[in-house]
Symmetry: C2
Subunit: 404 residues, 2 copies
Amino acid sequence: MDIDWRRNNSLNNFFFNCPSCNLDSHVIVEDFLDKKLQKILNVKAEKLNHAINKGIIKFFQFHGTPALQFKKDVIKIEAGTVIYFKEKIEVIRGFPKIRRTLMLSPTLKNHFKDKIIAEEKMNGYNVRIALVGDEIVALTRRGYMCPYTTKKAVEIMDLEDFFNDNPDLVICGEMVGTDNPYVSHYYEEIGSLGFRIFDIRKKLSNDPLSIKDKQEILEKYGLPAVRVLGIYSVDEAPDKIKKEIKEIGKAGREGMVLKDPEMIIHPLKYTSSEAHADELKYAFTYPFDFGRDFLFSRVIREGFQAFENEENEKELQKRAHQLGESILYPMIDTIKNVDSGNPASEDMIIDIEKEEDTEAFMRHLHDLGVYAVLLKIKGKKAVVRRIHQSTTDKINNFLKGGLY
Amino acid sequence: MDIDWRRNNSLNNFFFNCPSCNLDSHVIVEDFLDKKLQKILNVKAEKLNHAINKGIIKFFQFHGTPALQFKKDVIKIEAGTVIYFKEKIEVIRGFPKIRRTLMLSPTLKNHFKDKIIAEEKMNGYNVRIALVGDEIVALTRRGYMCPYTTKKAVEIMDLEDFFNDNPDLVICGEMVGTDNPYVSHYYEEIGSLGFRIFDIRKKLSNDPLSIKDKQEILEKYGLPAVRVLGIYSVDEAPDKIKKEIKEIGKAGREGMVLKDPEMIIHPLKYTSSEAHADELKYAFTYPFDFGRDFLFSRVIREGFQAFENEENEKELQKRAHQLGESILYPMIDTIKNVDSGNPASEDMIIDIEKEEDTEAFMRHLHDLGVYAVLLKIKGKKAVVRRIHQSTTDKINNFLKGGLY
């Protein structure tokens, strides 16, 4: 919920801990932004003010606590960053964008030094779990607290000891599985819902623990880590990873994140051809919602991967045919489906305990601007239908004779 | 060449025919725009002024004549419109964008009445030929006078009688053939260079002649028209055109423009699957120059065409495989080529008579912002190499380890 933050008392209370003072709240907030927040974030006040005026930084209220959400990057502060004004200021930084390598060689050698640890990149959604006051919250990529994710995270994992001992750490991981309201993907070892942790980062600084420290702390608290696929020297990495990525693809899995053991150098991602195809299939099931944004970059990845693999005619042909089929087949299925009178929609299954869970999740989707309806509740599962309106409307228009 | 139009004497001379008057030229031009141009174009002066201030309408000089070029649509005045301030004002309107039908049925029946004339849409570049003063000029789509096109148009066709009798008509057609500096495509009946006329329009109003009037006038002056592929009732059109477009595709040709015989209803275009594939092949030979813009819309056309054709599994597969190959193969060839140290480039052949022809054309390309070098002159042919810089630079960057 957006609030009129310039007139918001709780914000003022927090800033000066002086509810009875009669200072103009506008001045107080401006003053706070100018003097305090710029020091905390190490971003100039004028940049913060500009971002607030442009709606890039939004004020909202979370369980009565005033808070800020960064919709886009503001200098070094990542999109998805959330700042809670509790007894102390809690800054949970956005998960940093991981850049992609198109060519393993020479990129890995240029980018890393000595060793590379390859962790599995799983196909789910990115979640940060952190303590806000005495509450554990799970944030999705853009910085929204998802009630379903929050509930399931603490169900799936025993997080209490971890956060009691480490209130200033943020758990970054992937929510995966089939009963997943954002990205449903079957993993044999996961089944309906699971969580895999890839990073432990510090609040405010966003500094990640080294791989070793991360592994130790996860082991200590019995928390689930993503798989390590290999540890390579920079010289052997391209060949090893070329082989590994084929295996990952064959197993219907996504790809890998390549990391400096010390986590000082930024990680890079590299994905399988099958993952590109799967993403295109999804995007072209809803072509007018996702097609345009997804298409070009996946095609480019395929081109460079094929080139680096020095694929023969047959391999190339297989890749090209898979590309064409991934684009065309789902689109035609959706056109047929819309032609039959159905909307372009996908059904998401969520685990529920009580009716309020579903309501909270539906409200959350609504807040995100997602058009979804509760289809049915069957025992402990709810089926939520997400309607892809742009695809539905555009296809209907063209079928009725609309011009392109 | 852009000129400081607010201080341009020839413009003032034209406006008031009074070279010795001492009025401030700024005032004169503003006055002209406010009072005269808005009446001529039937567009409010404030809209014209806004477009001038935004650089959407640009002043330039053509052979000493002041002129205006519309870079984008301004209300009803199309992008590509050029206005010459000669003894009289010559307004050559931009060629109207032709919209596309994705579904033949029910679109054709909704859009047209009674009859549809299907003319061939050829794969070349759109040219408008008109008289400016006593000079015949050929304009490309965006409203640039191309010296090569102008020279070849009057060589290929005997236009003098036509323009003597019809100084207020504009010939709209396609320059096609292999010796074509913009879009090279082989047509058996054309060979190296040819022109095919699809519309005759009126200066200023942009009103087209009816098909019958157009055919009569072209016949009278011995000017070459595009092929008529068929005349259909709106009821039979979808089936007939479905068959016809397959033949067109098999023959390696582009598609058709569907027209109201009276040219009162706007024409529509419809293209073959092979044309989509060919365009994608071209675009993905230079993926970072054209790939993104070309890709999505061609994919969408393929999807609806396949759906409307009710293609069986084998036909669908053929279409999907062709799509994938058209995207991936040329891209990989270009990556290989750039990896070998070559730029991503294409060679264009132009007919020349004397050195000045080549120089004028190279200057024209430079004015368009096209990076091209004269490779060689061999007899009456010049080979111009166009460098696609973005593709060359980006691929080089990724090959050297640049991140995506």
